[in-house]
């Protein structure tokens, strides 16, 4: 197969007057991908694998990357409503969604707003629900490199982590992380990275096929939080990855891709 057709490209869309940057790549049915709290880290090995059979649509949230910030945007619910508009305006009907960490929480908020916009929902170590044991690691009390390190169970032997974050961060990287942190502070400073009403609201989406992917040794969002999600969505499947932290997509790439493919039947 030619790899050219699955190469990502960046383009701007307008939600009425609001500009939003998208990274798009791959072929097949669209798959909405929601990035985590530090923004889109680039087109990685897992993106390339999934892009063989799916067209990945990765919006950069306002205030992240080249999407300009919005003064009125102050909660995940606001962002969920805005993304819902983006899907409707662009003719995406019942798409599959794959959300990472903060992006997982965002997917859950979108599902709560209107379950019909998604066919299937895949949440990778999502925030959004207060863990029953432990806490969600505080992004605001540590530097971005320290936070990224905490997301990997065995950084020294994780090739993609080393490639992405193993060296002294570049100035653009540092700026991207600072902008992301500032934007997340506007959205989820308090209560930190969760919405107390989400567990109750999620009960309304119980019939949606849902997959929860979690690293067993997640130091950012405790893996036991998967059970709290499952209390609200009893039919949700849980895939636990052994010896894996908060970023299964880079720490256990092949296993991660297989799990996702199996779930969406590609």
């Amino acid at each position: 197969m030619s790899t050219d057709s699955i190469q990502p490209c960046e383009r701007q869309v307008l939600i009425d007057e609001i500009p939003l940057m998208l990274v798009e790549g791959g072929r097949g049915a669209p798959l909405l991908v929601l990035h985590d709290e530090l923004g889109y880290p680039g087109w990685l090995a897992w993106n390339a694998s999934l892009a063989e059979h799916r067209r990945l649509i990765i919006p950069m949230a306002p205030g992240f990357g080249r999407s300009p910030g919005l003064d009125w945007l102050s909660s995940l619910r606001d962002l969920a409503c805005l993304y819902g508009r983006f899907l409707r305006d662009n003719g995406f009907d019942r798409v599959d969604v794959l959300g990472f960490s903060l992006g997982g929480w965002l997917a859950a908020e979108m599902a709560v707003n209107w379950p019909g916009q998604f066919a299937r929902m895949m949440l990778v170590a999502p925030m959004g629900i207060k863990p029953s044991e432990g806490e969600i690691l505080d992004l605001f009390m540590r530097s971005a490199p320290e936070y990224l390190r905490a997301g990997i169970c065995q950084p020294a032997s994780c090739a993609e982590y080393l490639k992405l974050y193993g060296r002294q961060p570049t100035q653009p990287q540092l700026e991207q992380w600072e902008e992301a942190r500032a934007q997340v502070a506007r959205l989820a400073w308090s209560p930190y990275m969760h919405n107390p009403s989400l567990p109750s609201l999620l009960r309304g989406v119980r019939s949606m096929p849902t997959l929860l992917v979690w690293g067993e040794r997640d130091a950012v969002v405790p893996a036991a939080t998967a059970r709290r999600y499952q209390e609200s969505i009893p039919d949700a499947q849980i895939a636990l990855l052994r010896e894996c932290g908060h970023r299964p997509e880079i720490e256990r790439t092949q296993e991660f891709v297989n799990i996702i493919r199996q779930f969406i039947g590609s």
Partner: protein, 435 residues
């Protein structure tokens, strides 16, 4: 010239290596001994009373949260006590943090009570607070500046607009604003704003005629800010004067040069002389607190504008023992003295250096920060008397000679400028070259 006394009311003793390793913010509070804290609060109050008796015109209090170098987390409690036990001096808050109390109406009420108890001697100062303050009080740093401005506007409203009234703002909401006790001073207590280097804050002050107090900033960037203030003031139709400016200077004075030098060495302990630079960057700059531009300026503020050696600031991986040696070295003291961050000597020998600062910046208010090293109560009391008897009279003379009008002698904003009239600089750059 208004001369005010200031101590940051540090907690001590504290293991020096701990402060070096952790920075001055974030040290676990199991190291706080309540018996020591109880003694220190009372000693600091006694010292403030003695400062008034020794001839100071004002007592400055500041507020920090969780900082081992400042015990004034609830400085309004200290201010309320001083309001009752002092007789004459101004009580100057530099300043309260309206964003972190989360309830500016409560702050308006507290300050009104202090003003009433003191018989109208309160100077209300407001600050955005450092990055650590936002973390220590869960105040969202990304909204800090807009929250600060809204809280300020609301407090003025609560003091001046007849109640009851309804208030629906962006960050604050009140259904019934009607504080019963209103300030004695009318229309409201004077407001001063302390700062490090932010031009946004300087402009904001000049637009409101609020005196701006620079906190031991390097003289060169301070002159630029004074000019910015004057230019903004001219646009608002007035000529700024010394009454619009204050400057805070740390002065370590003793009977003899050698004792002063010993005391000055204590200032270095634990890396505290590096002040905010001794706080870990992730605590100093929480997300969204500073604009990208402001973060760069902040970094420059701690860099000697004349170039040359820099004060040692522990960063990254370092050996605490080695750092301790570097921090407590005469070379570090020299860096502080050469850059005027610290003036050390006898009451007589420090005068020429202070005179130069006054000649260059021409502040109407001059705040002397006393030695904040680990000194015992008796020593601190002795130094307050010494400064009162032998330094303050000399400084008063210089203030009169240079025409440094205080904001209590001439209302800031009172000198009107005709529209399009040329404004005069307040700072004297020619005096700087003589340094």
């Amino acid at each position: 010239m208004h001369i005010a006394y200031f101590s940051e009311r540090p907690y001590h003793p504290l293991d020096e290596e701990l402060t070096i390793a952790q920075g001055i913010w974030g040290i676990p509070n199991r190291y706080f001994d309540p018996a020591v804290g109880a003694r220190l609060y009372n000693e600091y109050l006694d010292q403030a009373v003695l400062a008034e008796e020794s001839g100071y015109d004002g007592i400055v209090l500041n507020e920090h949260h969780g900082l081992v170098t400042c015990m004034g987390a609830v400085a309004n409690v200290e201010a309320a006590i001083l309001a009752r036990i002092t007789k004459r001096c101004r009580i100057i808050m530099l300043g309260n943090l309206p964003t972190i109390v989360g309830n500016p109406l409560r702050l308006a009420e507290e300050l009104a009570e202090i003003d009433l108890i003191s018989g109208g001697r309160l100077v209300s100062g407001m600050v955005r607070g450092g990055g650590t303050e936002q973390l220590a009080n869960n105040s969202n740093p990304a909204f800090n500046r807009e929250c600060f401005e809204e809280a300020h506007d609301f407090i003025i409203k609560a003091w001046t607009m007849p109640g009851p009234f309804r208030y629906e703002g962006r960050h604050f909401h009140y259904r019934f604003v009607n504080p019963w006790a209103l300030p004695l001073q009318k229309p409201h207590p004077p407001i001063w704003v302390p700062g490090l280097v932010s031009p946004e804050t300087v402009t904001w002050c000049a637009e409101r005629n609020y005196p701006y107090v620079a906190l031991s900033t390097y003289l060169e960037p301070t002159i630029d800010l004074w000019d910015l203030y004057c230019e903004t003031a001219a646009r608002k139709g007035y000529q700024a004067g010394p009454e619009n400016f204050g400057y805070l200077q740390k002065v370590v004075v003793a009977e003899t040069e050698s004792e002063a030098r010993e005391l000055a060495m204590l200032e270095l302990q634990g890396g505290r002389a590096a002040a905010f630079a001794a706080i870990r960057p992730e605590f100093m700059f929480p997300p969204g607190y500073n604009s990208k531009k402001a973060a760069g300026r902040m970094a420059r503020q701690f860099r000697n504008p004349k170039g040359g050696d820099e004060l040692f600031v522990p960063r990254g991986d370092f050996d605490v023992g080695e750092a301790k040696k570097t921090i407590n070295s005469p070379a570090q003291l020299k860096i502080l003295e050469d850059s005027y961050r610290l003036i050390v000597g006898t009451p007589e020998s420090v005068v020429p250096k202070i005179r130069k600062i006054l000649e260059v910046l021409r502040p109407g208010s001059f705040i002397i920060r006393h030695s904040d090293g680990p000194l015992d109560h008796q020593t601190r009391m002795r130094l307050i008397r010494l400064i009162g008897q032998r330094l303050l009279p000399a400084l008063r003379e210089i203030g009169s000679e240079l025409g440094l009008v205080s904001p209590f002698d001439r209302k800031p904003g009172g000198q009107r400028l005709s529209s399009g009239g040329a404004w005069q600089r307040v700072a004297r750059v020619d005096a700087l070259s003589a340094l």
